[in-house]
Amino acid sequence: MKSYSSNRVHSAEITPENVYRSRRDFIKLAGLATAGGILSACAPNSGQTSTPGTPQLTPTLFPDTLTPWDSVTHYNNYYEFTISKTDVADLAKNFTTSPWKVQVSGLCSNPQTFSMEQILAMFPSQERIYRMRCVEDWSMVIPWEGFPLNQLMNAVKPTSEAKYVAFIGTLDTAEMPGQAAYNYPWPYTEGLRMDEASHDLTILATGLYGKSLEPQCGAPIRLVIPWKYGYKSIKAVKKIILLAEQPSTFWNTLSPNNYGFYSNVSPRLDATEQRIGESFRRPTLDFNGYADQVATLYTGMDLQINS
């Protein structure tokens, strides 16, 4: 098993702070961006030699710096606990994350139920620094620890009929007070097309900032799909089911006009976002900056219709 842990990028290496400090520079950069995006070649280089094919934070016009651990763990959308992003950390702190089992079933020849211990032993964790873009127009840069979902799927051997993957979260009204609200379709559910789920950027995360995941961030195990809006990255996954048909998903069930099944970041150009810790908005990148890696998954698809 190859490990990417040698590619750990420290925040100071990603962005020289002075580069993005002032608003004036920000505006100047924005002006130059519209003038042709020539600066993209000048994005700060982390100075690391990268293994070919190693997923890394794509260098972008506006430098990315790691969002502080405190922000990542104290501003969470986790409706199972509360709809208040700042109250989640406190409400989730006693959530039972051990023992934990993940059941993988459906159209596969080797369905299995994995304990967390088995998962951690079978799939060595790697660091993945990803942008996280919330549909609420804010974003973070997060150093996850985890492993590609395709490794877990290979272990259960999907059959050729498997076209979609459904993810089912935790249903526990005793531990998750937010689930008492009846006007949400509990438990949380998400779904991906098979090729999206098998993509190397799609990971199951078990850690954050080199430590194990905090309950408010989806402990013990959560999905992370960096090119889709944050709500696709389901927390505290209990079941993974391989299916022939597209599964229903939490937000799409709630409000189909606003939340499509695909939910790729910014299929409409020119959106902006508030990066947590910054003073002004920055442009939202197509596929959240991962277009080079994932745009081909959607060739020939109209992402306005399949939003």
Partner: protein, 219 residues
């Protein structure tokens, strides 16, 4: 004695409408507006505006029920502060949030049509704030009262703006729609109380007061 009480009530009322602003400023400087202070302040200021609008609508029914004139005395300051928070909400949207980037603001409006409703409400509230100036009020004569009626439209617009802005679906009652529906329910009751026949029924306090005056005042 009575005037002293009124004076204290007035101080209390001014403090009450200023409290959310003081809180926002303190929270901003003590970093307790979450790690996304702009979004938080935007949402809070909008919430204050809607709440104050609804509170200002309770003044007349309370006066009619009790006959205590204090309730209508504080109606203007409640309405004006609602206008202020709505304006603050708008300013936070166009400046700290969007940095006066008007092309981007227009793009956002085109994608989120509820903002148009919010802007309409803001226009009404600003007009109402301007006509509350004494000189303008006198100049407008009877038209003033007609113009004031637009506050009902502003209230409906404000609650609708809020309901459409939250994540969820108003039609299927799913998502974060509970609070907007509570506001809508309160607004519905307050509007019903202003329908003339209903108003006559609830004017218990005012009638009593008038009766007392008639019987007590020596002519």
């Amino acid at each position: 004695m009575k005037s002293k009480l009124n004076c204290w009530l007035q101080v209390f009322c001014y403090l009450a409408v200023a409290a959310p602003l003081i809180y926002l400023v303190i929270a901003y400087f003590t970093n307790s507006l979450s790690v996304n202070p702009v979004l938080t302040a935007e949402q809070r200021s909008g919430d204050y505006a809607v709440t104050l609008l609804l509170v200002s609508l309770t003044c007349t029914p309370l006066f009619l029920l009790t006959g205590v004139p204090v309730f209508v005395r504080f109606r203007p300051i409640l309405g004006l502060s609602a206008s202020f928070y709505a304006f603050l909400h708008f300013m936070l949207f166009i400046w700290p949030d969007y940095g006066f980037d008007f092309p981007q603001i227009l793009l956002t409006i085109s994608r989120k049509p509820y903002i148009v409703i919010g802007l309409g409400v803001l226009v009404i509230l600003i007009v109402l704030a301007i006509i509350s100036l004494k000189n303008v009020r006198i100049a407008l004569k009877k038209n003033w009262k007609t113009l004031q009626r637009f506050v009902y439209l502003a209230c409906v617009g404000a609650v609708l703006h809020y309901g459409l802005a939250v994540k969820g679906n108003l039609l299927t009652f799913r998502g974060n729609v509970l609070k907007p529906y509570v506001y809508a329910g309160i607004l519905a009751v307050l509007l019903i109380l202003r329908i003339p026949p209903v108003e006559r029924v609830i004017s218990i306090g005012v009638r009593k007061r008038a009766f007392r005056k008639e019987t007590q005042d020596p002519v």
